[in-house]
């Protein structure tokens, strides 16, 4: 038994180091601060570097430089800090650098920010959204792997609960397929040979004066299409005979799944889908059930963001209803009154009854 009792933020840091992350830079902001603290403590012990950067803008720039040398590198923050990084995120993506971003969000209102790219231009980050620490430990490792596979940033969308909850988890390195060497990484060795490298986001090539953005960006667009097909992930339960399906993401889904399991135990024909990747969105999973359910309920704690993706997935094949809403306590950290299984239960029961006309049999 190799499980250890650790807080989410610590588990994420340990797993990142297991995944070979050797550079981290960040600026404190609740609930991301603890991730930074653990990085600062543990990274040097692993022979890596953690810079307590003077701002988020500088943090992401440092990660950019570290990535350019071929290192596995990450940064992170919380809503506001990530907003400040948007310009860099957009450019790093188009420079095809494998950045990993630890987003410890204050709740679920940053779904658009994560999935639509808040920056300029056509780009996407792969967004992994763990339900709990066990999954976060896997996701952060997967993030470094996928980032290298696709040469595209990957974000972990966590939150206050993920950062602050502690669980008994196994902290083991996952063995992924080996990846090709990073022949694009800078080290200066080819300078003066005509073969030096220029890591950029606009289609600059060495020795050519102009830039070729169209060709460059079209290639990237094709990559995003390939990622959409290859990397959509979800979790589902009880779909076979469900006539109502509820979807939720992240730690909120743990509350929803718990209630659905209870309702199932009590006989409701209710099912559950959780997008594990927020981008690419696991549309197929929703398509597959759209024909057989009365409604898909979207329980998200924001003004209604993921619901767009559910609607885009089913395109009218099933009604889609918003079941959640904005919910915050006085801290503003995203832990609101809707994070209560009793409350969720009454919401789901009402939706189920409304849509299916059935009372659960008791």
């Amino acid at each position: 038994m190799t499980r250890r009792f650790v807080e989410g933020s610590e588990a994420i840091v340990e797993a990142a180091i297991l995944a070979g992350c050797r550079f981290f830079a960040g600026y404190p902001m609740t609930p991301f601060t603890e991730v930074l603290d653990h990085m600062a403590e543990k990274m040097p012990l692993a022979g890596g570097i953690c810079v307590n950067a003077e701002s988020e803008l500088e943090a992401v720039g440092m990660a950019w430089g570290a990535l350019a040398t071929g290192a596995r590198a990450a940064t992170g923050s919380t809503g506001q800090g990530l907003s400040l990084m948007q310009e860099s995120f957009s450019e790093i993506t188009r420079a095809e650098l494998p950045l990993v971003v630890v987003n410890m969000a204050r709740g679920q209102s940053d779904y658009y920010q994560s999935t639509r790219g808040g920056g300029h231009g056509d780009y996407f980050h792969i967004i992994l959204c763990p339900i709990d620490i066990h999954e976060a430990v896997e996701h952060i490792q997967l993030a470094f792997h996928l980032a290298d596979v696709w040469r595209n940033p990957v974000q972990i969308y966590g939150d206050y609960l993920l950062a602050h909850t502690a669980e008994a988890v196994e902290l083991e390195a996952i063995a992924f397929d080996t990846l090709p060497a990073k022949d694009w990484a800078l080290d200066g060795s080819l300078n003066g040979t005509g073969g030096s490298r220029n890591i950029n986001s606009i289609g600059m090539t060495k020795g050519n004066k102009g830039i070729e953005p169209e060709r460059f960006w079209k290639r990237l667009q094709a990559k995003y299409e390939a990622i959409k097909i290859a990397e959509a992930r979800h979790e589902a339960e009880f779909l076979e005979d469900a006539n109502y399906v509820v979807t939720a993401f992240g730690t909120t889904a743990k509350f929803v799944r718990h209630v659905i399991r209870e309702m199932r135990n009590e006989g409701s024909r209710i099912g559950y889908i959780r997008p594990i990747t927020l981008w690419p969105f696991p549309s197929q999973a929703f398509c597959d059930v759209a024909g057989s359910v009365r409604e898909i309920g979207v329980f998200e704690l924001n003004g209604g963001q993921m619901i767009d993706d559910v609607r885009l997935a089913v395109l009218g094949a099933a009604p889609v209803a918003a079941l959640g809403g904005i919910s915050s306590d006085e801290s503003g950290f995203g832990v609101g009154p809707l994070l209560n299984t009793d409350v969720i239960r009454s919401i789901l029961e009402a939706a189920y009854e409304r849509a299916t006309g059935e009372e659960k049999d008791q």
């Binding site: 038994m1 499980r3 250890r4 009792f5 709990d132 066990h134 999954e135 896997e138 997967l142 792997h145 609960l161 602050h164 909850t165 502690a166 669980e167 008994a168 996952i174 063995a175 992924f176 397929d177 979790e235 339960e237 730690t251 743990k254 509350f255 799944r257 718990h258 399991r261 594990i276 832990v335 994070l339 209560n340 299984t341 009793d342 409350v343």
Partner: protein, 205 residues
């Protein structure tokens, strides 16, 4: 790509414990000790501590869910099987979340004896007195956890002692012995295993 995610499908035994107190009572440490002990015994645990306000003297709560499979319960516990109440100041928030007939241990006599606990299976433990007697007046919460373990069989004393050692920050390592003594004294104070934590859930509910 070889990558497998294991998802718990729920089921099995899952127990919830709420611990409430005020700042400085050691609520977080005590909860961690129990969580670590359970981990050492191979169980799954899920715990969340919350602190009210920035000032000392604010509320400090912790919740712990433990079970023999990956925990299905979410980290904010709406309905709990058991509770430890160190102080009555923020008791109301805990009371409403304890299930009828929940197992409850109160820190006597600090916890206001006038409060009606008739809906619960309540036990009073003079935790401060016991802790003080073991040379560790700040370890009342540890006494309570010892008592809880004794009463429910949630975790064994040996695991608790190791967990105690793992949980103390280095600058407090010198208090290890008195803390373990407190733990054991709490354990000894209660009638043993009245409420078997590891029984099937349905049998208890």
């Amino acid at each position: 790509m070889i990558f497998l995610t294991r998802y718990s499908s729920g089921g099995g035994v899952e127990r919830e414990l709420l611990v409430t107190g005020i700042g400085g009572q050691g609520v977080q440490l005590a909860t961690q000790v129990l969580a670590r002990a359970l981990t050492l015994e191979g169980q799954y645990v899920l715990s969340l501590g919350t602190y009210g306000g920035t000032m000392r003297g604010g509320s400090t709560d912790a919740s712990l869910v433990y079970g023999d499979r990956p925990i299905s319960s979410p980290p904010i516990v709406a309905s709990a099987w058991s509770g430890l109440a160190m102080h009555h100041r923020f008791w109301e928030g805990t009371r409403i979340r304890l299930r009828p007939r929940a197992i409850l241990i109160i820190n006597a006599p600090i916890f206001d004896p006038a409060i009606d606990l008739s809906g619960f299976q309540a036990y009073a433990v003079p935790a401060v007195e016991i802790a003080t007697a073991r040379g560790s007046p700040l370890s009342a919460a540890i006494v309570m956890v010892g008592a809880y373990a004794g009463l429910t069989g949630a975790a064994g004393l040996e695991a608790l002692s190791v967990a105690m050692e793992q949980s103390l920050p280095s600058y407090r390592r010198k208090h290890l012995d008195t803390n373990i003594a407190a733990l054991k004294a709490g354990h000894a104070h209660v009638p043993s295993v009245r409420h078997l934590a590891w029984e099937d859930m349905a049998a208890v509910a």
